[in-house]
Every structure is written in C-alpha cells, then in structure tokens.
Subunit: 495 residues, 2 copies
C-alpha cells in the first residue's frame, strides 16, 4: 500500500530486516559455472521474479544488457529489473520491455532513449524511482525482494571474493552492489578476471556468493573509469561556485573538523576548489568527505585537507587509484552511506552538502529527474538523502540554462522536498530557506546579499519568459519514492 510523503523524519521502519535464504556451501562444492545460462538455471529464477544489478560500471557496463538478452532467450517473462541505476547504454533493453520480458523497473534514474520510452508509456506499471539511500532502505525492509543479483566485478576468485580492482577494468567501490550481495537469495558474480584465491581485500565476501561466471568482457574500461575530472572554465559556473563557497565559509559550519559532500558536476567541484583555498588560509581541515568520490576530493585528501574519504561510488581513475592506495579512503555500502532506516548512516553526520538542480521552486522543492519537457533525463541519486542528513544543504545552479529557467513556481517533479533545502546559490543571487533564520542572520552579518525566490523567478521570467506548461497524459509512468518509503511525487506520460 502506497503512503504519501509527509515530512522528512516522520516515517519509522517496522518489523525486522529482510534477509536472504540460508544456504550451505561445503568444502567440496564448486561455485564457478561455465556460463551465465547455467548460473541462471541454477539460481532458481522464475517468471515474475526480481533481478538486480549495480551501476558502478556506468556507461561502460555490458552486464545488464547482456543478462536481460539471455533471460529473454531463455524465455522468461514478467521479470522485475531492480538495478541501482540505469544509464544511456541500457537503452538496448527497450525491445525486452516491448516483448514482456521486463515488465517492471525500480531504479534511481534513467537516461537517453530508455528514459524517453518510459516517459512515453513503454511500461504498463510505473517505474519506481528511489534515492541511493532509499534503495538500500527498500532492500533492507523487504520492499524490494531481490531473487537473483547479477553483480559484475573487475576481479573475483573461484569462491566469490569480488573486488572493484581488476587487470582489465577497475571501478573502485562496489558500494551499491554490497547491499544486493547481503540480501539477494542468489548472488552471481560475473567477472572477466578470475584470480587465485583469496582475492583480498574483497568488497563482496565469499560467504554471500552462490556462483561465479567468467565472461570475456564485463564492460568498456573507458566507460567504467573515465579519466581525469575537469574543472569548469565557464565564468557563470565559477561565479556561482565562488558565491557558494562564501556562503559556506560564513555559514557557521565551516570550522576545523567539518564534513562535506559535493556532487560530480562542474559547479560542485569548483566549490571544493574555492573551499580548499579558504581551508588553507584559515588552517581548517575537514574530518571527512562523503559520496561519489572524484579526483578533486582525492587531491584534497592527499594534501591533508580531508582526513577521511567515505566512498559509495568511485567516479574517476584518480579515485579508483586512491581507494587502493590511501588507507583512509574507505569503501562504504549504500546503506551505510544514506539509508534513513538503519541505526545511523554517514549522511547523518554531514555538515554541508553541495547539490545541483534542474529546477527549484518557491517552496525550495528540487527536481533533478525530469527535463523542461517533462521527460525523464536524470537520477534521484543521493540528492534527497544528503539534503536531509546534512546540517546545511546548498543548491548550486544557474538561473537559466539556455532558454530554460531553473527557478520556477512549481517543479515538474519533486525529488528533494523543500523542508530539507537550506540555500540556493545562483548567478543572480542567493536565497536562504526562511525556516533557517539562524543561517539568514549569519549570512547577513557576513554582508552576503540575500534575495528571494520570488525575485529570482521574476528575473528568470524577464530573461526567458514564462515557461510553457507541459502537456501530460493521465497515465503515471513513474512513482517517485522519498528515501523513507513514502511517495513524494509521480511522473506522468508526456503527450
């Protein structure tokens, strides 16, 4: 039964943690199987069951498409797909939605042609959109019951010890996959690098793994770990970043031992760069940084500006190298990262998070999933998780993008509720949530000029006019679940 969202920390979990089937593997048992087909056969997969994947290989992933194709060939129908997220590369599965192999999807987001197909009503049942913390919550509560997890790993030994480091590819943290490995009834590791036992340190340990299959290629190494993250040179983005870092500096949270998370977007990374300068000047050091970890975070860690890195997802090659060599760069799973219904995730200990937005409205609600045409084009990610967990959430965004305003009357889709958003920094001004009188006072004392949402909305309209209303059909193509399991919004079919 679906429940409506009310407020951030109202919903409490009930009952016991979900758990997988017990199974004994004896010393004489062999886990390595000759093919994915054999593994599916042994897994007990049946029509109507749920299968899961992780998105640590990003747009380089070959696993998900490949498995769905094999499952179709084997004649399965009515399968629920529950990956941690979907990328453009997964548009290859559209035919298997059309032929009824896949009839339901849970994901953090979806992009490209698959997203368009979903927004155009390709699935009968609405897609369930969840945040990274919300997915971990759903798995731990049993809201998502994974029957078979197909988990790609850059290396694995014959007993299932799986690592994000391999000789062909590397993806760093396996933070999303770790949750699936703990809860799926059957866990299959798929690797292109079968190494001698024991493959340690292992992100997924042998005690949770049923089968191991070696294939030729788990993905495109270039797509899995991209090269260096580049800093933005866009003057508007740099202006926003500079302002955001001034807000942070004067927020009261910028002090020795603070903690923060930045996204992987250009503005966020530029904020980190400005912060580093302030940290240098004021001899302030961060106790930890959290999140998807990128090269700029690694540099700050190696230069001792950040003591600990908590890493649920490793974004680039520099970060992949760091998690192997830097002993205070820690892999955490998605539940440890941001699940609101465990005994205290790391996001709860965040002081500051810097987040992006496609749209933000006068109630500070943020949309990061649907475009100005109402079509799905993004992912929930850790947005609402870290906004809720942190002491101060800062949204950074340009007032307009091309002819599209960011500040609007009402966002197309709420991913993050306004109650958990504290500051908006744009190129045309800074707005603080009126609930945060403490912050308003501190920023005013620091002579930071504050404006209102109304002002920014009017400014945007002056520049690009009032945005045209999107025409939707009545059909609901996606439900947006808040991290606590309540429904915060729906996405409708575009006309």
């Amino acid at each position: 039964m679906l429940k409506n969202y009310e407020r951030p920390f109202k919903e409490q979990p009930k009952g016991r943690k979900a758990s997988p089937l017990l199974k004994a593997v004896s010393p004489h048992d062999n886990k390595v199987l000759a093919s994915i087909g054999e593994a599916i056969n042994r897994s007990g997969l049946k029509d109507g069951m749920t299968i899961s994947f992780h998105h640590h290989f990003r747009n380089g992933d070959y696993i998900l498409n490949n498995i769905v194709k094999i499952i179709d060939e084997l004649g399965f129908k009515n399968i629920t797909l529950a990956p941690s997220s979907l990328s453009t590369v997964n548009s290859e599965i559209i035919p298997y939605i059309e032929n009824g192999t896949i009839t339901k999807i849970h994901t953090s987001g979806v992009r490209g042609k698959l997203a368009e197909a979903i927004s155009n009503g390709a699935l009968e049942e609405p897609v369930m959109i969840r945040s990274h913390g919300g997915r971990a919550r759903a798995i731990e509560s049993g809201d998502i019951k994974i029957h078979v997890a197909f988990l790609g790993a850059p290396s694995c030994d014959e007993y299932g010890n799986a690592s994000g480091k391999g000789s062909h590819t590397t993806c760093g943290s396996l933070g999303y996959a770790k949750v699936d490995a703990k809860h799926a009834d059957c866990v299959i590791i798929i690797t292109d690098d079968l190494v001698p036992y024991p493959n340690m340190p292992a992100s997924i340990f042998q005690t949770d793994v049923d089968y191991v299959v070696k294939i030729d290629e788990i993905g495109d190494p270039m797509g899995i770990a991209s090269g260096a993250t580049r800093y933005t040179k866009n003057p508007k983005e740099l202006l926003i970043a500079k302002r955001a870092s001034e807000v942070i500096k004067n927020s009261g949270y910028f002090k020795d031992g603070f903690s923060f998370q930045t996204g992987s977007g250009g503005i966020s990374l530029a904020v980190a760069r400005f912060l580093k300068e302030y940290m240098k000047e004021s001899d302030i050091r961060a106790k930890f940084a959290l999140g998807g970890i990128t090269k700029p975070m690694v540099e700050m860690h190696e230069e001792r500006y950040i003591e600990n890195l908590f890493d649920v997802q490793t974004f680039d090659l520099a970060a992949c190298e760091s998690i192997l060599k830097n002993e205070k760069h820690y892999e955490i799973d998605a539940s440890q990262y941001a699940n609101p219904h465990n005994k205290g995730c790391v996001a709860n200990k965040l002081d500051i998070v810097i987040l992006s937005a496609l749209e933000i409205d006068k109630d500070f609600n943020v949309n990061v999933i649907t475009g100005s045409d109402g079509v799905i084009m993004g992912a929930s990610g850790g947005h609402c998780d870290t906004a809720a967990g942190s002491k101060m959430s800062v949204i950074v965004a340009p007032l307009i993008r091309g002819r599209i305003p960011t500040v609007v009357d009402k966002v197309n889709t709420i991913i993050t509720p306004g109650e958990t958003v504290d500051v908006l920094v744009t190129d045309r001004g800074v707005v603080v949530n009126p609930n945060r009188t403490d912050l308003i006072e501190r920023l005013k004392n620091a002579s930071i000029n504050l404006v209102t949402m109304e002002y920014l909305k009017d400014e945007a309209q002056k520049l690009v006019g009032k945005p045209k209303e999107i025409e939707y059909d009545d059909k609901i193509v996606a439900l947006v679940e808040y991290r606590d399991g309540t429904i915060i919004d729906v996405i409708k079919k575009v006309k």
Copy 2:
C-alpha cells in the same frame, strides 16, 4: 527440537537468515548514554531475554561480570547468557546463577570455578556448548536470538564505530563480536576510549549500533593482549611437533600456495616453526593462514612465508600490532571463519589444520572440553569446524599427560567426530584414520612409520594403567552441539 548428529555435512539449513529489528537513528539522535544502567533501560531488556558478549578480552575482560552484576542489581531474572566464550575470570558470575538472574548459558567453553559449578549442576537447564562456527550458524539461523549485545571495544566514537585498537587496551580482531552486532536487536558498545568521529577503520560500523557507553576500564590490558607467545622447549612436545611437520610435508598437501591453521598451543606453534624450515628449503609459500593469529604466524607473514592472514581472534601483542600495520592481515567474523551454513566459510578452503586433544579414541573422536575427572575445563573453539573444513586435520598430543592417557577407548565427550579427524601424532607414534587410504599410502611411501590406535592405547595403559571410570550422575549439565546444529554429545553432572 533437538536432533542427533549423523555425519559432518548432512544437515542443511532451512528458511531465511535471522535478522534484527529495524530501527531508524536520525541526524539529531544521540547514541552516547551516561551509564550502563541507562543503556539497559533503553535496550528494552526484559526477564527471560538473551544477552551476548564476546571473549576477545580473554581473561582480562571486565565487561561481562560487570554487566551481569548491574543486571542483577536492576532486578532482572531468568536471563540467558550467550557469550562467544567464558574464561576463568567469569567465575565471578556464580552468585548470579545461584540467585536466578542467569538461568541459561550458551558458550564455546568455560574454565575454572564456573566450569566446576556447572559440572556440579549449578544450572537447571543444560549449558549449550557450540563451536565458533556453530555459534555463528546458530545466530544466523535464529537458534540463538540475541536481544541485547553488550560489546566491549578498545575504542569507539559517539556514533558507534568500534575498533579493536584503543589508547588503553588493544585486542585486534573483533571477529566474534561482529556477528552479534549484525544480529542483535539492540547493540551497546562499551568502551574506555571514546574518540572523535569517525573511528575508522571500524570493526563494527555505526549502522549496527544503538548506544555507546563510556566506562573507566573495559578490562586489564595485560589480560587482554598478552605479551609474546613462547615456543615450547619441552623435548616431548618438540618431538611430536617434528613428527607432525614430517607428516604434513609428505601428505601431498604441502605445496606452493597451500593453506593452514595452527592452534595457539605449544606443540602447534612448534609445528609451524618446523614447517617454516621446510618451506624455506623447498621454496614453498602458503597462500593463507587462518584462525586465532599468533606471533609465529605474524613472523611467517612478515617474512613472506604466508601471503594472507585471516584473523577471527588476535592472540597476542605482536598479532594486534600486525593487524593494524600489515595490509594483508585481514579481520574476518566468526561466520566468515567457520559457519558451515553460509555460502562457504574460509575454513572450507583450508588444506591443513593442526589441532590439540585432551583425549582421542579408537574412532578418532576428540575431546577438548572435559578433563579426566569429567569436569568441564576447556572450549569447543574452532576444533570441529576446521577439522571438517580442512583437507587434512592433524591432532598433536602427548600419549600421556602425567598419569592421564590421551588415547582412550572412548572419549568422555565428543567435540570433534572421528570422521573429520585424519591423523594423530603422538610421541609414541603416528596413526592415520583408516578411511584415508590415500594418506596412508603417501606417508608409507615417505617411510613414516604408522601405528594403530589400539597400539597407542595399549602403550598408554602399560605406562599409567587403565583409567578409572568417571562416576556421573544422571543429570545432563551440558549439551554439545555440532557445528551444524545437531547434538553430538552430552556432559553429565559429576558425582
């Protein structure tokens, strides 16, 4: 319902893994409580519930006695005690058994006055004796349902990240405690070193911890981590060790990439020393060593004779230092170590284990728990787990100890069934289990002189006479559970 033991790998687990209550801790919640009394109060502890502890602090532990005392003061009755093991130091709890505060005990073993009290019928209900792997199985299957786990930690932060390293004390691996932390409904960390967040690397992570209590002293540092392990100089023990290492060398399992476990007894450690010499001569290296880790293992690891150390329990100061500094010295939990009902524990990958015995009989059954007077004086430990998991189990023991024979007609108590015991090495000869015709052939080819159990038993009797029958009462004071959950033996009240 109790089931009788049949054979090592017959019993299969059923149903789903047991799991703890779900609970949400929000960013504004505080886990640090002022006293153990307050933590007990908040834990929801009620009469009849089960509480757990770990024995990583060994005979230096202050936690268990202290908590039982407080629980008695608070007026609780009919509490079940489920520590990973009990030591001589825990004899302090006898009054709380006598007054009905504690009415049931699950443990791996018990020593000293408490053991004597139990053997003399202090408890109405039989004590349940389990191996380390068997305890993990029982917790994961729900056979032991822990309501409140009181887990001492040498350091912890305010959010529950607990480590075996502290500024006052250090215990290394928290391998037994990790299982309790994952399954208890309420997890309380008790520390004497409350450190800044985040206390990483953490053996027990914040997401599993309800409360943190700081006390003055969690234990006696000298009892928690004892100094260097000493090699035996006893010529009889050295002779046995030399023979055992010759058996291993010629067993077919001694080859590059092999794996082994030794106990912490004098003979076992001497075996490791001889093995090292053979490894040097033959340019053979071990892939991993498992178990309670001791200084000799650490030395072999640091000298590159052993590539990886898997550590469920750290036995001495050298090993405590090693687990902190050597990156291939890995902490594992008791389920990963030896649970027969998960998807494959590390014990399953063991080639060779060297184990001790108080008694061994003509069917190769081994007793490591009751003395020649029938009184409990030891612990099940990992004995039956590694005997079953390994490809070859070697028992090392002197033929007689003082006036007490080791080789007997029938052991007082079966901890490890003869089907899983391959070789017995004594100072008076080597016996191979007749089932192991492969081993017999290989050892004969290597000109190792083999004798029979009958011969050894007769030799022992010639020296010390036939042992007097122990007089038992009808009352059962302890049930011995095999690692798979079946009952392999009972211990009766001594007269």
